[in-house]
Assembly symmetry: C2
Homo-oligomer: 355 residues x 2
């Protein structure tokens, strides 16, 4: 399976994972269109696609306004649907904004796909966050859904849209539930984007790392190149025995081990342990690691890059590009949803019956 000459649409295409996917597919000869709202706080960054800037098309629009890119929807062979807000703390502070971005916009986008590209393959970037505090480890796809924040609720609503419309035969979607992803082009300046973003920001800019709690919680970070490969496979698979796949890293590491590796690679002193801030404690889930057996067996994907190697590549990337990843998106409240410094919020508005 090759993407050569295939028409590919990537929503959230200027974001961390979207841009890595775009670069990979463009280099492979795909005809790539990126849709991105460039909403502040969501990680979209034009600099991310620097290597393929002249080889991809960028449409700057919110996927909640699909009428503005219908031609792109109609002509797509495969859609990678990665648009969304992923900050857990943002979602807790501004849940209605999160509902608008992660659920309402997805609903509008999928309704349009259903109408204008019926049956199209869609790969949706889900999240392990929907599982909440693990009831057992490793977490497989049958684990109960118990989100600990609004972001998890809203991402799961969007997941259900994809799966429900696929069961109904109207779309051909598959959901990849990603664990913590890291690598070149991850946003370093979006507040509360996750511990890896914070760790890499500090390591890349020469500041000592801190770990909350005892640092013994396990995680299984997955390198973005591995995620891109999982998406490539899911987008091209002719046979999809399942519609939801967990995508985890190659090994469980403690938060302290992760911080220690980054500190060492950056020539920094060892990480310090600090008490949990209240707001973070409320949404902490303890240890988490993924059972990726299903995608290994059914789609023959396996994470290939170990954290030591992936971290080195990531730090190498930022060594040459750090200024493009600092202070571009650090806005809280993340209210600047529009393109002209305007706030956008979801409202129940009363419009007259003639419309």
């Amino acid at each position: 399976m090759t993407y050569r000459n295939r028409k590919v649409l990537i929503t959230g295409g200027l974001g961390f994972i979207g841009s890595n996917l775009a670069i990979r597919l463009a280099e492979e000869g795909a005809r790539v269109t990126l849709v991105d709202s460039r909403v502040l706080g969501c990680g979209g960054n034009l600099y991310n696609i620097e290597p393929v800037r002249d080889h991809v098309r960028v449409v700057e629009v919110d996927i909640g306004e699909p009428e503005k890119f219908l031609d792109e929807i109609r002509s797509s062979d495969v859609i990678f649907n990665l648009a969304g807000e992923i900050s857990h703390l943002h979602s807790q502070r501004y849940p209605e904004r999160d509902l608008a971005i992660n659920t309402l916009s997805q609903l509008r986008f999928l309704m349009s796909c259903r109408e204008h590209a019926p049956g199209v393959r869609i790969v949706y970037a889900g999240t392990r966050q929907i599982y909440g505090v693990p009831e057992y480890l490793p977490v497989d796809e049958s684990h109960p859904v118990n989100p600990v924040d609004f972001n998890g609720v809203h991402k799961y609503a969007a997941t259900m849209y994809h799966l429900m419309l696929t069961r109904a035969g109207e779309l051909d979607a598959v959901v990849l539930r990603l664990t913590n992803v890291y690598g070149p082009r991850m946003a370093l300046d979006v507040p509360c984007q996750g511990f890896l973003s914070t760790f890499f920001r500090k390591a890349a800019s020469g500041h000592a790392l801190e770990v909350f709690g005892d640092g013994r919680q396990l995680r299984d970070p997955v390198y973005v190149g591995d995620v891109v490969e999982a998406m490539r496979i899911a987008g091209g698979a002719t046979r999809l025995p399942s519609r939801a796949y967990n995508v985890g890293g190659p090994a469980g590491l403690t938060l302290y081990e992760i911080a220690a590796i980054l500190s060492r690679q950056s020539g920094l002193e060892p990480p310090a342990l600090r008490p949990f801030p209240e707001e973070r404690k409320a949404i902490d889930i303890g240890s988490y690691y993924t059972d990726s057996t299903r995608i290994a067996q059914e789609l023959r994907w396996r994470a290939a890059v170990h954290f030591e190697e992936g971290a080195r590549r990531t730090l190498d990337y930022y060594a040459g590009n750090l200024s493009s990843y600092l202070n571009a998106q650090d806005t809280d409240p993340p209210c600047k949803l529009g393109h002209n410094g305007q706030k956008r919020r979801m409202v129940l508005s009363t419009v007259d019956a003639a419309r």
Copy 2:
């Protein structure tokens, strides 16, 4: 446990289940406030509370505008949260409207409860619809969530809000997942409200019944008096070992058997079998019946009224009140969401940053 002198808030209180609950609690001496938007198509009917009209307070407002009934929220001892749209076909035709009613309004309401009545007991009326096509029978609370329509997605999002805020210690909510409920005061004039509504409308008005398909799909209809009792218990329980309970009827019956009982009780000819209309076929789930073991064991509730008996009581009720249940709500598209003949739709509106 008694509700005597307790302050009770019932959202969707003019609806089918809400009004039966209101009557029961008012007769028990509770101080009952009903909140109801009287949105056309959602089943709110002032006539429903005729027996206790002078003993309950009615606030006519959408729960998505909680700032209009903050005093009622603040002073509640128990909240029964029954507001919502339950027509599956409406949700398929107007999914954004369904998202506004069943998810956005619930989000706003719960955020207000969290702020103004922290830790309050809330009993949320969930639905067995979230389980979708059963993977096994009877369906217990661990069954995967696979909604077949937008209504199921949006009701489940609201369910997740309740459970997530309860896990976080901010509310004290419990979800009852109701199977098909029937009884006095069910709306007979809301299009596509479910087969029981259609069956009772026809039986009560002397028209022969029709059953789609082969009529052998199982259901476990539950009498509204039993549901009211389950809600009373859940609202008053000092110990809630679980936060989600299935609530099913006393026995599985085929659709044909249900129709035959109603036909016989109404002196009509036996029901006829008809082919499935396409739109209904798409959201048909085959056989369904509930495993209510958990609520039986943990809260000592069991359905007491068998269908023969419940159907008789229901037909007796409509024999004297039928005109109040016909042609009041039959509007499609169900666009009249406002109170003055105005349409209301959810929009992403851009408001300036100063607001």
